[in-house]
Assembly symmetry: C2
Homo-oligomer: 381 residues x 2
Amino acid sequence: MIYLDSAATSFHKPEAVADAVYNAIRHMGNSGRGGHTASLSAARVIYGTRKKIANLFGVSDPAQVVFTANSTQSLNMTIQGLFHAGDHVITTAMEHNSVLRPLYRKEQQEGVSLSILPCDACGTVRYDLLEEYLQPNTKGIVCTHASNVTGNMVDIVRIGAFCKKHNLYFVVDASQTAGVFSIDMEQMGIDVLCFTGHKSLMGPQGTGGLCLQKEITLPCFCVGGSGVQSYRKIHPEEMPTHLEAGTLNGHGIAGLSAALDWITETGMDNIRAQEQKHMRMFYEAVRQIPQIKIYGDFSQSERAPIVTLNIGDNPAEEVCDALAERYDIATRGGAHCAPLMHQHFQTETQGAVRFSFSYFNTEEEIQTAIQAVREIAEEWT
Amino acid sequence: MIYLDSAATSFHKPEAVADAVYNAIRHMGNSGRGGHTASLSAARVIYGTRKKIANLFGVSDPAQVVFTANSTQSLNMTIQGLFHAGDHVITTAMEHNSVLRPLYRKEQQEGVSLSILPCDACGTVRYDLLEEYLQPNTKGIVCTHASNVTGNMVDIVRIGAFCKKHNLYFVVDASQTAGVFSIDMEQMGIDVLCFTGHKSLMGPQGTGGLCLQKEITLPCFCVGGSGVQSYRKIHPEEMPTHLEAGTLNGHGIAGLSAALDWITETGMDNIRAQEQKHMRMFYEAVRQIPQIKIYGDFSQSERAPIVTLNIGDNPAEEVCDALAERYDIATRGGAHCAPLMHQHFQTETQGAVRFSFSYFNTEEEIQTAIQAVREIAEEWT
């Protein structure tokens, strides 16, 4: 199989990841639930991984790193906790449902008002409208670092500065960029960064988390067993326990740790360069094919390694089926959980075919994919 | 290491579990996020595991099985969704903080009133007080199937019948019993069963879930990406997607699936018999040792495989340290996240030493543990 769906989840992972999880399952106890070797080694792995994540995102204290099951949970916890009745929140039309739906729910159920920054013709957010959208009760901006549909990157530094100037919370969804694009929360003015472990971080499913600046406090999301302070009726206030309840996915975190080591050893710049190369090779070739329509801003010098397109009027899901069945190429068709992007491009009915590239793809695979698109386009248009 | 802390997490797991997770990491895509082989195989594994869980707990439709990260999350979702201002809820002094803290929070923040059934001298809930605790606005009972401190089992059938008679929700925390003790939700009148994957189910950390009777609806907990119905502003209403958002821990669920197969092949009765045997052997020996105080009802014909004790006045954590450092025996001291049990036994300061047994322990290990307790008791009392 030629796997070109890394934006959904990483398929080829560094070998050390599966090894690390295997070994953890064989040797790890329950972190913070005992003073014996198995429990202590679990605690060490988990603490060590917090440190690696803290380093990766430019926060000083590992206690600012909270583990969750996935990015969606991180975003729910953050949006749930930061915004309240009477607040106004700005988000964008580039967002994934994991940002949109928690915000819609806040709007519907709790009297939070919501503004959605539209995009330009290429699908990049209209920064020029930020001032216009600002209101006296605007509390924060929640946005993605890169669109999972177009790959367009958001100028985080620009929005971070805007938030700083107007004293707004800045929440960033780094699902498509963590581990590939450099993110420094301090420098970029990010208050809460939500990330997932199983996409560009190359870790296992069931891992993810959030990083919070020290001055940000969120109310508990889940409460329960904390390993310490068992006699208090309320869940501990100390971070990160405050935002974690019950047994952590220590096995998964061990795998995430191995993935982070691999990223450090391989070098984020090298990983990114390789992925950009695959994306550009694919883009430059398919854009020449008649009847191909590509969605996104390819004038950006760096983008998430995604090329989303349509072949004539053909429903995207049919193209994806053909790619899978005839060429054994994995892609993703449909709406990609990003309804406003498809409304923007008027692809709600047709959907779109997303190709997303990994460090582990080969040039040969890219060429095969290009040829496949060419052949399908010839037959179907 | 002699691992006698299975109540915290399973340490020796069936070999197939680590293998299954390893293979899943190497081959699995993101379930419900694509029509290609990797995504479809992920969907198949996940659906198959839902079926196994449904069978295990006696529910007819796999869609009634919801996956979460752990039991604590399941209990939070359930308690959050079922009970509202003006409701009265009954729970017990046997509970873990994963039941107590969500209920205390409801009490504090939302005007739910809470009654806690006390225990008798042996630490078993006072069933005789149920009628007295019942109020006109009682909405449900939330309780454990077995105490993680004493191992005492709760008569689920009896409480289920009481709930049925008075039209109350019945929520059971099966963290210590799933996969070892037979649980039939229909027969026992259980409305929501919360379970964790990494304890008696022998699966990996980061897995767990809840089973709901068809007529029970909970509001969404997290909302976000759902793979389907992307254009709706609200998260899907169909189960189980309604209660799952974002990428599932497919890798962990693959491991849980292998664990469930092992339980079926080995036979739940065989597993339980072996664990009861270890527990009885240990209990019968240590009860003879002077200055040993044991907490729990050993007249129950079947109990969770736990023996919790103290040696004279010695702080439990010091005994656990000695067991770990001198004998390489893993146990758990302290409060076990079950404050009311320790308040009941007046062990808040001393804590207690919990030994919990697994199918994979050997007779030799039990004998070594008995001897270790004997030696420490001789030296320290």
